[in-house]
């Protein structure tokens, strides 16, 4: 069936609001991932559709336990490796 991102209508998720913290970025690294992704798409390294696809391909359990910008960072590094810009070893810091 569908990928894990396709949650519309799914049951079992918790209550939504009210939210005390509605800030778009909770720390500096999130803003950096946001800016980095915009720059890489802007450079034509990958498209927005490829970026969404890379998020959707995450293993379901990991998708659900990751924060929003953790998903983004996962997709950015996945695409950088798949496009041959960086090796997986480089991303891992080996």
């Amino acid at each position: 069936m569908s990928r894990i991102n396709d949650v519309g209508g799914m049951q079992g998720f918790p209550e939504v609001g009210p939210q005390a913290d509605e800030a778009p970025f909770h720390s500096d690294w999130e803003a950096h991932v946001f800016a980095l992704n915009r720059a890489l798409i802007g450079h034509g390294l990958y498209s927005l559709d490829e970026f969404r696809d890379a998020i959707e391909r995450m293993p379901p359990a990991r998708y659900l336990e990751s924060s929003y910008y953790e998903k983004w960072f996962h997709a950015v590094t996945t695409l950088l490796v798949e496009k041959g810009v960086l090796t997986a070893a480089e991303v891992a810091g080996d």
Binding site: S2, G9, D53, E56
Partner: protein, 97 residues
């Protein structure tokens, strides 16, 4: 690609279940709704996400009743659907994709 549907027309969404990226949500597959408006033409993301060349095609805002989508509820939901994923729906409900 030319526009196959007009506002007010009843349409049925495809039952596709692709292994690749798509923008047709699972909850709105195989459902009957009414075209609200035509948004313009855009390449199919199912193709773009795979690096496949794609001609722009019409995208429609389609309104569904919650009853049609979820078997209950009084509200309605609109979903934006590429023409590839829509079929004309006759009144007998046999809009086979």
């Amino acid at each position: 690609m030319t526009e196959r549907f007009a506002p007010g027309e009843r349409v049925r969404t495809s039952r596709v279940d692709p292994s690749h990226h798509t923008r047709l949500p699972r909850y709105a597959r195989g459902a009957v709704g009414t075209v609200v408006e035509i948004q313009g033409s855009y390449p199919l993301p199912d193709d773009r996400a795979r690096g496949v060349a794609s001609e722009p095609e019409p995208v429609y805002t389609v309104r569904f009743t919650a009853r049609e989508l979820f078997g209950g509820g009084e509200h309605s939901v609109t979903v934006d659907v590429w023409q590839t994923h829509l079929r004309r729906c006759d009144d007998a409900g046999n809009g086979n994709p």
